[in-house]
């Protein structure tokens, strides 16, 4: 199982995403088995299905910073609540599946305070870099950058999400634009495209930041324009990550709590005919 919760610095709700894998293959929870995420004061069911099989997400109100308890439960009525017909009268309940009852606890690391850049960065070559500095927490947490990229060449649009590891929570990192922008003329890109539940989480965060005014498949890799020859708006979400705790039932997977903040950049392809 993969479970991740993220608390972005400008959003009051935490984004919670989860996925189930059996033998490395994503599988759907079915028949009313569903992920539930809760704090001491709020709870939610992960009713939104992600782009990929077996991925689910929801937003959980966070009135105060606290751990999130995530559990697979069996709720045949509540899981069907988005259906239009009387689901409490007409439903087939196959009973709890084998994953019901398993759980994990997600804790959040300290928030991220970026010290530079504080303004959107303008870049003109995929060999450029972004020098990133922040206040280190010194608590042994991991760091990561998730980037949502939207490029247009005037005719076509490319959108995708990539992730990049940040070595240490030491307050300094050089992000290479070549890990974010690719040139489709040079064959298959070697970027670390975000997949499965992390992509669901990024989509949910972007959706919240835009107050719902975003396509439901915004970051699901549409590559019609060549990013290297386009103008690209880049939203980089710098995350501090803390490993959570599985209960005894799981022997593999990951559970992570994250805090994120955003920096913005714009890449404009160099045009030798421009002054």
């Amino acid at each position: 199982m993969y479970a991740e919760a993220n608390l972005h610095d400008t959003v009051e709700d935490a984004q919670v995403a989860a996925a189930v894998f059996i033998d490395g293959e994503p599988v759907n929870l079915v028949g009313g088995d569903i992920f539930a995420a809760s704090t001491e004061t709020d709870s939610t069911l992960l009713l939104s299905r992600g782009y990929y099989d077996g991925t689910y997400s929801a937003s959980l109100p966070m009135t105060s910073l606290s751990d999130i308890f995530i559990q697979v439960i069996h709720e045949p009525i509540e899981a069907r609540e988005d259906r239009w017909y009387p689901v409490d009268l007409v439903n087939i309940d196959p009973g709890p599946g084998e994953l019901v009852g398993t759980s994990a606890t997600i804790s959040f690391p300290p928030e991220i305070i970026i010290t530079s850049p504080t303004e959107p960065v303008k870049l003109f070559s995929i060999n450029d870099t972004i020098e990133l500095t922040w206040v280190p927490a010194g608590m042994g947490d991991n760091m990561r950058a998730l980037a949502s990229v939207e490029c247009t060449d005037g005719l076509a649009v490319t959108r995708y999400g990539v992730s990049a590891d940040i070595n240490d929570d030491d307050g300094h990192e050089i992000l290479s634009l070549s890990n974010i922008i690719f040139d489709s003329r040079e064959g298959a890109p070697v970027l670390n495209f975000i997949s499965e539940a992390a992509l669901v989480l990024l989509q949910d965060l972007l959706n919240q930041l835009s107050a719902g005014n975003i396509d439901p498949d915004y970051v699901y890799r549409n590559t019609d324009a060549n990013p290297a020859e386009s103008t690209c708006d880049i939203r980089i979400f710098v995350q501090r990550l803390r490993e959570g705790i599985f209960d005894d039932a799981f022997d593999s997977g990951s559970v992570t709590g994250g805090r994120s903040t955003e920096i913005q950049a714009q890449y404009t392809a160099f045009n030798p005919l421009d002054n």
Binding site: G31, L47, P76, Y85, P86, L89, I92, P94
Partner: protein, 200 residues
């Protein structure tokens, strides 16, 4: 509300059965292309229905209206959510009681409107599929109750006693599954029909 509707229907039925003794009657048979709307995120495909209607004309412009309507099964889109795949279907029968108002022009045409109450019986069927290990199945529930209808149409007289008709009909079934579920809903049915009428 239900008591009032029941009283009205009984009164109309009384008038209708007594009116049959007279000789200014019309019998119609209509073929309907109907579309169900349960008011939620449902997207029903069009389905077929058939209606048999009896009118007795108290005046040249006013008649009682008694109809029996039976629909085919209408299927909602197949959908997938966090539970699995599902598809809902509805099928309905209704008895309609009301009044018909018509305006007959000098030409062989007439325009008419119908409105009244209905007593319906509707069945909801849901098919569910989870995965290869948990195949799911089909479950049904039915309910009956009251509602109303309104229609507007036109007729062309082929002969003095035979007409062809084109009509738009809107029916509303109220409070399906109220009392047995916490999610009752109203069912709207819009239908376009063609029909044959026989005056005798």
């Amino acid at each position: 509300m239900k008591t009032a509707m029941r009283t009205l229907i009984v009164a109309l039925l009384y008038l209708q059965t007594h009116a049959v003794l007279a000789d200014r009657m019309q019998l119609d048979i209509n073929y309907l292309l109907a579309r169900f709307d349960a008011g939620g995120n449902d997207e029903f495909s069009s389905n077929k229905a058939i209606a048999i209607r009896h009118n007795y004309f108290f005046r040249d412009w006013l008649a009682s209206d008694l109809s029996l309507l039976v629909t085919d099964k209408a299927y909602d889109d197949t959908r997938q959510d966090v539970v699995g795949y599902y598809r809902a279907a509805l099928q309905s029968q209704a008895i309609l009681f009301g009044m018909k108002l018509r305006h007959k022009a000098k030409s062989p045409y007439e325009a008419y409107g119908r409105l009244g109450l209905q007593y319906w019986r509707t069945e909801l069927e849901v098919e569910e599929y989870f995965n290869a290990s948990i195949p799911g199945g089909t479950v049904t529930a039915d309910d009956s109750g009251y509602g109303y209808y309104i229609g507007i149409g036109g007729a062309h007289y082929i002969t003095d006693s035979l007409t062809i008709q084109l009509e738009f009909l809107h029916m509303k079934q109220l409070d399906l599954f109220e009392g047995s579920s916490s999610q009752p809903f109203d069912l709207g049915i819009n239908a376009l029909s063609v029909g044959l009428g026989y005056r005798f």
